[in-house]
Amino acid sequence: MRRAAVALSLVVMVGLALIIPGAFAQQDPIKIGVIQPLSGSVAASGNYIRMGAEIARDWINGRGGVLGRQVQLLIEDNKSDPKEAATAAEKLIVKDKVPVIVGAWGSSMTLAAMPKLEEYGVPMVVETSSAASITKRGNPWVFRISPPSEMEALGLERYLKDLGVKKADFLAVNTDWGRGAVGAFGDILKKSGANVGLAEFMEQAATDMNAQITKVKAGNADTLFITTAVEQITLVLRQAQEQRLTRKIVTTGGSSAPSQLIKQAGPAAEGTYHILFFLPWFPEAMPDGKLAKAFVDEWNKRGHPFDGLTEGFRGHDGVLTAVEALKTAGKPDPKAVRDALWKVQLMGLNGPIKFEKDGPAGKESGQSKPSIFLVQIKDGKIALPAFAKK
């Protein structure tokens, strides 16, 4: 019988553990779900976005919240794993009953969470993911403020001549993001009459890229496009310098944190170009200079790493978008928020946010058209290239 008792108590414990937390659901603040990779391989970026989201929350609450209620962020870790992203979405929607979610960083995580949005009818503001398929799948609950690689490449098109790109190689992280960027930028280059050389990939966790750099060095391209997280860019730049690779280097994706590169790669970063979506060095040059300035100041005041700003702004914009939709909807109801998202028109840190229809007719997802900026590292400082100044 003792065996039975022990087994029974285990079952009861699990049951209680599952049920009790749900019993204390509070009514007061309006909840917004946030799904980010807070641990695992891409934890750094996910944490910056969390910090940005928290600033937006505090500002909004400081202004009296939304609909007369405070905003509460329910932050979930997707551990850089799609299964966890789906589970987190399920939890946020079903248990916490959030009317809107901001997330889920990587494209595979967003794609894994998307069936849940459709299943329960809850909208999600996608803040980072770049895969084209996210808005092309016909999921009418998806609203993306980050640019898919195609859009980013289009944004670069106008600078291609000034950059003087004739033939370019690609070095990208072997993920949906890196693969997508290589395709998109390659298409734009071909369209504008430049040649596309090598496309080399590296694993997300790889630390030694010498072999890829050797291959690039053996080619005759004039430009190297790099798409990966800032840590890996640092390593690539350092190793490229060790190998004396002389190429014009352009990083894509907007998260390359040039000031971090200056610190960690030093002279190896000199002369490189970076596509960014937020320029914390020149807040006044941003579409809403005052907002940008305030955000940068607040970020520094909180002691967050300055280098995280190029990512953190997305958390702010994501939450701001969600709150704006809540305000328009007038009630924290997922369906109303979804309808309201179509009407959102606001100025974020990146620039204007307004959703256009994308994807199969009748089931369109929302896609905002983000602003795209280009900076260069010059004399150990970040500079706007002459041709990119407004």
């Binding site: 807070l38 641990s39 695992g40 391989s41 934890a43 750094a44 996910g46 944490n47 910056y48 072997n174 080399e200 990939f201 590296m202 694993e203 966790a205 790889a206 630390t207 030694d208 010498n210 072999a211 890829q212 050797t214 291959k215 800032v230 840590e231 640092t234 390593l235 350092r238 310098q241 060790e242 190998q243 004396r244 610190k263 960690q264 030093g266 002279p267 190896a268 790493p305 280098d307 995280g308």
Partner: protein, 278 residues
């Protein structure tokens, strides 16, 4: 270049397995610990870079000794899977503790060495990499000398050969196990301290290190010191060649494929002498 640090990682792992029959999944975490300890000593404690490395080794070894004393000693005699799973738990806990303590943002260890590469004819080498290679080589040599020449080393080898007989000869098995584990952890920490400045520091950096260490160990034969040292070099070279000639995406596959082939052709490891049967 990296081969030498792979060897350091592999030697630690192989010793722990050979002597203690523990599959140490937390091995990479001692590597991470070594890297962060260097960072802490250097940046927070403003200690000289060359002093920070031995500090990191000591910290790693101390953590290893603690881990053995607290977790492994009471579990001696438990099945190998149980112990392995405990180490998996340690791995998860340590990695997340690092995440908690240091944050997920990558850190950089500044070095006093010049970044301009040294050139000798067609070969160019970064001074830092040369430094890493030389120090790793010295550490491997040192570890070998400890094992081959000292009384402690003899006791360790005796334990490896035959635990009961060693115990009869008055060797304290518990003590030897603690020392072995600390030794392995210290070597892993040394690898972390050395590679930290080459790469960047982040909490999950140990995962890749563990993977490499396992590849090295299997290449060299489980429990085989010389095999691990050679295995590290072979893996380092094979990866370079593999990435150069095959698609770079399959770079890490090279390690796996070597493991499979070696296992099938020479299950005792590439450098094991044929065992006498009977």
């Amino acid at each position: 270049m990296l081969g030498a640090t792979y060897s350091l990682l592999g030697i630690g792992l192989t010793l722990v397995f050979g002597l203690m029959n523990v599959v140490n999944f937390a091995h990479g975490e001692f590597y991470t610990l070594g890297a962060y300890a260097t960072f802490a000593a250097l940046v927070l404690g403003s200690v000289n870079f060359f002093l920070a490395i031995p500090i990191a080794i000591v910290v790693g070894a101390a953590a290893g000794a603690l881990c053995d004393r607290v977790l492994l000693r009471p579990l001696r005699g438990a099945s190998i899977d149980t112990v392995m799973l405990v180490m998996i738990g340690v791995w998860i806990a340590m990695q997340n503790a690092e995440l908690l303590g240091w944050g997920g943002v990558a850190k950089n260890i500044p070095t006093p060495l010049p970044t301009q590469p040294l050139t000798a004819g067609p070969v160019s080498v970064a001074p830092l990499r040369l430094f890493v290679f030389v120090v790793s080589g010295l550490l491997i040599l040192g570890a070998h000398l400890v094992l081959a020449k000292t009384k402690l080393g003899r006791a360790m080898r005796a334990t490896f050969q035959d635990r009961e007989t060693a115990a009869l000869m008055g060797v304290s098995i518990d003590r030897i196990h603690t020392i072995t584990f600390a030794f392995g952890a210290g070597l892993a920490a040394a690898a972390g301290a050395l590679l930290g400045p080459v790469f960047l520091l982040y909490p999950s950096m140990g995962d890749l290190a563990s993977l490499k260490a396992f590849s090295v160990v299997i290449l060299g034969g489980l429990g085989n010191f010389a095999g691990a040292a050679l295995g590290g070099l072979v893996l380092g070279i094979a990866e370079e060649l593999g990435a150069g000639y095959i698609s770079s995406g399959y770079r890490d596959a090279v390690g796996f494929i070597i493991i499979v082939v070696v296992l099938l052709l020479r299950p005792a490891g590439l450098f094991a002498r044929a065992e006498r049967v009977g």
